[in-house]
């Protein structure tokens, strides 16, 4: 299996919120990278995890499956999962797979950080 073409950097906003900047290709192969980022972002005090898809270049169905797995882990820790930076194409994929019913999509970072309605 090829190494995943993706980077995920974590930025913290106070004690309770973290943003994961996703750049590259989201496929099933990047699960270790995403889970490492989740470990770094999802400490016990984190209640809100924001995924920034502004640098997303490619995503297949394996990538969507991996996001569902991440969602389960976040729910287990009672953490909210939010997303922003999705292009129209990827926003439609979230809607098609009905992932948008569990991961709230925002237009920009500011609204995602504060949970302001889309």
């Amino acid at each position: 299996m090829n190494a995943p073409a993706i980077t995920m950097d974590v930025r913290r906003f106070g004690q309770t919120t973290a943003v994961v900047d996703i750049r590259g290709e989201v496929t099933a192969a990047c699960e270790p990278v995403l889970m490492s980022a989740y470990e770094a972002a999802g400490g016990p005090a984190t209640s809100r995890l924001v995924l920034n898809f502004g640098g997303l270049e490619y995503m297949n169905s394996g990538g969507i499956g991996m996001l569902v797995t991440l969602l389960v882990r976040a729910n287990r820790q009672r953490q909210q999962l939010a997303a922003y930076g999705l292009s129209e194409h990827y926003r439609e994929i979230f809607e098609l797979t009905r992932l948008d019913e569990a991961i709230t999509i925002y237009d920009n970072e500011e609204s995602a950080l504060h949970g302001v309605v889309k």
């Binding site: 299996m1 270049e57 490619y58 169905s61 287990r76 098609l96 797979t97 009905r98």
Partner: protein, 287 residues
């Protein structure tokens, strides 16, 4: 020194008996035709041709050989919308070194219904598996009853394709069929990410449904393996409970349960046929 069979040692199409279309399966991404675009317009993502267009409710055409009920007007359901525990089940087969992942997936996409175990029907588009297609299913559930439901082709590229289920299906989720090169060999797999759609299905899955599903996909992969020329295909099954919690807020999914509806449709079929006959006779008399 042992000779290794890398990609350059892959057998020709003639050697493994592939059709012209399967043999012509292009490498990943080359299969996707990029639409022409204006200068200055942002390039579409290279996965754009692989995903189905967004749909709110499924529309279906008539397909012969299946009942075709319980699909039209239904919404798609992912693992988020399901009721039961979430499972990830993986069925893997070593397809050997002679075939490429692209050839394996092309064969699977083109002949998908032919690999299903006897007694089950998959009525898809004549062109094979393509993003946005809806296929109608009649699944054998015993006692002469067929469970009528369907699937939606969510994603398809040269190395994988994914089917998503509608409301009323046994499970809410998707199945991804993929192939990849691992060292010298090609591995083919079906991976299910699912929750039972409602409490009735959850009970049914616990009381033998999971075992039946495991047998179903193992038999499917074995049939694919034989088509690919494997003398003795072996399928490895791995199940992981991703989330042991049940989502009680989705218990009302039972309203759409296709198993219950299929049983009722089977029982009422003679009456429905009779009433149609009477209506037809009346209208011809009146006309």
């Amino acid at each position: 020194m042992a000779e290794t069979a890398g990609p350059d040692k892959v057998a020709t199409a003639e050697q493994i008996g592939l059709s012209a279309r399967e043999a012509a399966a292009p490498p990943r991404d080359a299969a996707q035709t990029a639409p022409p675009r204006d200068v200055g317009q942002a390039a579409p993502p290279r996965d754009s041709a692989s995903w189905a267009r967004k749909v709110d409710r499924l529309e279906v055409d008539h397909r012969s050989g299946v009942r075709g009920t319980n699909v039209a007007g239904r919404r798609l359901t992912g693992p988020v919308q399901g009721f039961g525990k979430m499972w990830q089940k993986t069925y893997r087969m070593d397809a050997g070194s002679r075939i490429t992942p692209e050839q394996a997936i092309a064969t699977w996409r083109e002949h998908f219904p032919e690999f299903w175990p006897k007694g089950n029907r998959f009525a898809g588009a004549l062109t094979g598996i393509n993003p946005g297609d809806v296929a109608l299913l009649d699944l054998s559930i015993g006692g002469g009853v067929k469970l009528s439901t369907g699937v939606f082709v969510l994603y398809a590229d040269a190395e994988s394709f994914t089917l998503m289920t509608p409301q009323g299906h046994m499970f809410a989720g998707w199945i991804t069929f993929s192939a990849q090169r691992e060292g010298d060999t090609t591995t083919v797999q079906a991976q299910v990410l699912m929750r039972a759609n409602d409490p009735l299905y959850e009970v049914a899955m616990t009381l033998g449904g999971h075992r039946k599903e495991d047998k179903f996909w193992a038999a499917t992969l074995t049939a694919l393996g034989r088509r690919l020329g494997l003398p003795d295909p072996k399928v490895e099954t791995r199940s992981t409970c991703v989330d042991s919690k049940r989502q009680w807020r989705h218990s009302r999914n039972v309203w759409h349960n296709s198993m219950v509806r299929s049983v009722l449709q089977t029982i009422s079929a003679p009456l429905v046929g009779l009433s149609r006959l009477v209506r037809g006779m009346n209208s011809s008399t009146n006309g």
